[in-house]
């Protein structure tokens, strides 16, 4: 996997994830997505913002293979895909360590290697010392860290996030955003992040896709030019405010 020294964004790379005219109509007739096309290259972190119920989550579920598109085509290697759910979805009966090891266990990674990789992922997300804790004893933020570590240890080239910080308080959320940027810089995955927070979208990503309400279409594709690593202070930068304003206007127009 690419790390920061090799240059994160190499636009000559083949896209890691491609949506090509994807349409989604559910059996009950709900038209969730219409003609959605975009691609994400390794080293890109793309956020999708849109009003609730616009089909953002459906987009992610199609990318991961949990749903099958009714039209168009999706290209992505699904053999190893990172997916972080809205809630941490930890298994209550497993310690942090055993939760983080789960995917490796399902892929029959040998026990020693599994434990080793899990320990490193736990350390990376800042949960060192909590390996033996059960989820019940963790705060919401810590649970989300464990959830991210669980996907991170599989070193997925494509990492999908379904509003993972939506339920967290502001302070924890900002902290985790900063850390997610760091993970992204260190691991160079292609990220697709769903959110309805404009600030979160602009702060995290290299590109913001704006979606209209149902049926969801991509109505704007906005480059975010700020360099990584991004300091928390960036949120108060006039340029940041201007870009957020643009996303906000696009959202209103799309509605």
């Amino acid at each position: 996997m690419a790390d920061s020294s090799q240059g994160r964004i190499d636009l000559t790379d083949k896209p890691a994830l491609t949506f090509d005219g994807v349409d989604m109509v559910f059996p009950d007739g709900t038209h969730a997505l219409a003609e959605v096309s975009f691609d994400i290259r390794p080293g890109e972190f793309v956020t999708v913002v849109g009003p609730s119920g616009c089909g953002k989550s459906t987009l992610l579920r199609i990318a991961s293979g949990l749903e099958t598109e009714s039209g168009g085509a999706v290209q992505v290697d699904r053999s190893n895909i990172g997916f972080v759910f809205q809630d941490a979805t930890l298994l209550d009966w497993r310690t942090v360590q055993d939760n983080v090891e789960l995917f490796a266990e399902l892929h029959d990674v040998p026990k020693d290697e599994r434990a080793d990789r899990a320990l490193r992922a736990i350390e990376t997300v800042g949960l060192a010392g909590f390996e033996g804790h059960y989820p019940q004893a963790l705060s919401g933020g810590m649970r989300m860290r464990a959830s991210i570590a669980r996907s991170l240890m599989m070193e997925p080239p494509v990492f999908l996030f379904d509003e993972p910080f939506g339920a967290l308080d502001e302070i924890t959320r900002e902290k985790l955003q900063t850390e997610l940027i760091r993970l992204f810089m260190d691991n160079g995955f292609a990220g697709l992040f769903i959110t309805h927070s404009i600030t979160e979208a602009v702060y995290l990503s290299t590109r913001v896709l704006v979606m209209s309400s149902r049926p969801g279409r991509i109505t704007a594709d906005i480059e975010v030019p700020f360099d990584y690593p991004r300091s928390p202070e960036l949120r108060f930068d006039p340029a940041f405010a201007e870009l957020s304003g643009r996303v906000s206007r696009e959202l209103r127009d799309a509605h």
């Binding site: 949990l66 209550d92 399902l106 350390e123 010392g129 019940q136 705060s139």
Partner: protein, 324 residues
Amino acid sequence: MLIDPDTRSDAMTEPTASTAPAAATPSPTRTAPSDRTTASWAGPLAVFVAFIAFWYAAPYLFFSGREWLLPPPHDVINVGFIEGMSFGQLWALVKMVVSDVVPFWSIDPGLDTSVVFVANAEATWLSAKVALTGLGAAIVLGSGLAMAMSQAKWIEKAFYPYLIALQAVPILALVPLIGSIWGFGFFSRMLVCVIIAFFPIVANTLFGLLSAKKSHHELFALHGASRGTRLRKLMVPAALPAMFTGLRIAAGLSVVGAIVGDFFFRRGDPGLGSLLDKYFARIAQEELFAAIIMSAALGIGVFAFFGWLRSRVIGKWHSETGVG
């Protein structure tokens, strides 16, 4: 590689220091101040003392002229637990239990059943064996059926009406039938316990198996986990809290089943039910009360055992108050 060792030990590790201590002590109630532990036994003790006082007073308050109906507690203790007892008989009771538990080793423990406590303890042990074997069979069959039902909606739908029917039929209505088919021995008594304990086990296990969230299932689906893996690593562990709830109900019911079944079968080795019936017929009140105390002890013992097992198995990650 996942993590560049040089970039690992920076910013990420700092914020946890602030979130850590708060979450590391999840159970302030367990380290409660000592006055709470005092209260925890003082209350029950006060009620116990009041109960004993009431027991002594009741015959004179309610049954004057027939005081013998409610023998005073010390007489019950004396007749039911002390009179005629010797270390030899205590040892004989231990031998009885051991020779039953250890396979292929059968001895005559030499019980003197003219001693009330020995007779009561023997009957209690017999009822316990019936209840626990029946409960064990109900657990195996019931959780097996629940697992099958959890795998497909049509299996669930096919069986559920009959489970409700089984639950609805009063067990006493089945006792004569069971007796006429399988006789009055151990098997019939056990069968009564299986039937009575079956429903709570199936219903609670099924509820537990289906309690795993959709997103948890998707987690496994994303990584290509098979049905079997999902059952083993997701559904069964998720079902454990509900299973233990069912088990506690079923355990209590199986003790009731053993005694009630016995009460009706009458023939065969005397369990607690037959013994209670016998004492009742003879108006042997002290013996009767002692036997009631033994049956209560059996029920409490079974209940406590499953409570203990529950905290052993899932206590570490599941609290009944449900923090998470």
